[in-house]
Symmetry: C5
Amino acid sequence: MIIARVTGTVVATAKEPKLEGMKMLLLQPTDASGQTAKGSPVVAIDAVGAGLHDLVLYAAGSSARQTEITKDKPVDAVVMAIVDLIENQGGISYRKG
Amino acid sequence: MIIARVTGTVVATAKEPKLEGMKMLLLQPTDASGQTAKGSPVVAIDAVGAGLHDLVLYAAGSSARQTEITKDKPVDAVVMAIVDLIENQGGISYRKG
Amino acid sequence: MIIARVTGTVVATAKEPKLEGMKMLLLQPTDASGQTAKGSPVVAIDAVGAGLHDLVLYAAGSSARQTEITKDKPVDAVVMAIVDLIENQGGISYRKG
Amino acid sequence: MIIARVTGTVVATAKEPKLEGMKMLLLQPTDASGQTAKGSPVVAIDAVGAGLHDLVLYAAGSSARQTEITKDKPVDAVVMAIVDLIENQGGISYRKG
Amino acid sequence: MIIARVTGTVVATAKEPKLEGMKMLLLQPTDASGQTAKGSPVVAIDAVGAGLHDLVLYAAGSSARQTEITKDKPVDAVVMAIVDLIENQGGISYRKG
């Protein structure tokens, strides 16, 4: 999974019917501190009620279809956890709130 | 999913028989504003009637086969939404039309 | 799918028995003009009778196993179309022959 | 599989129910010596009891769901081996402990 | 598939039980000549009896599980061919032995 910051949302009226009602989050992958951007933005389906500015984990590929709401859907990224705490290199690199 | 601009189309007469009748779009991945190119072009099957210059989302890998028209086909990218609006960093980074 | 130029072939006597008889093409991914190389070479199974110098599309990952000849085989890239024409940015960026 | 160093852990209270009880490790991919970082950090599920500072292998994508604890779960990376020894270029590039 | 040089082996005592008895090869992806390294090392399961210094092809992702020995195993890369010859750009870029 990749650590990412929720930076926004995406609205699409014309879409595959299976996507109806799904919340699409705009994510910016980050390092373990949640502060430094790493690579390009990704759009993922929200499976856990994540909100703006939350640091989250997303799973990509076929694994993104292993939640109840994304099963058999044409989506390749899902937010499956909201990060509370990251311990890295013997210290706390991120703590929520 | 990745945000991308539809910049063109690809025509291929000699192809896997399962691909007959599919529309192949040329996409340029972009940032959240839809203005700045990010990485290399990708060719994706159109599942939503996207047109030239539309900003779209595409899904890659096995997830690209989860639409009615791409099921069991040898395709690894599908356009599954046309973007209307992107909110990013507290503002609107893209609005269609 | 990715646009690529067929630049050669790969011969392998010692291989997984399921690969017997398959033609392995050496591909160089390119931009939409077919002229500029993009990234590293890839080896893909030929499903459409592509020849040297053809501009083709290849599908990667599990989608590469969705053709008759690659079904259930340990291959992760398949050439599934020979490109005739690419329209990009309002012009023709590539035309075969 | 990719060689990586376990540099920390990730704690998430709000998560997909299927992830309950799983240990999430923060990994830094490395070269064959285990000393030089390569690319961005990844979060993976632990399937082998790996500890902080261990050099491990992780599998990504659908393969990450092929262990007993990750079956049918929305996870795309799993630690499936703790490295004891790496031989590279005729020498030993890494030895545990 | 990707062209790579076998540069070593990886030994792991603590591992997912399904991996018992598998040979893990350290691979360095290369260009079509087999001489120039391209990107980071990868660890793959050997399905064809490849040896040190062999130039090989490996398949990644779910395709890596399509050999008899890797079926249903948590591995995402498999060596499925030993390269004898590569023809590239009208010449022979690599010949074994």
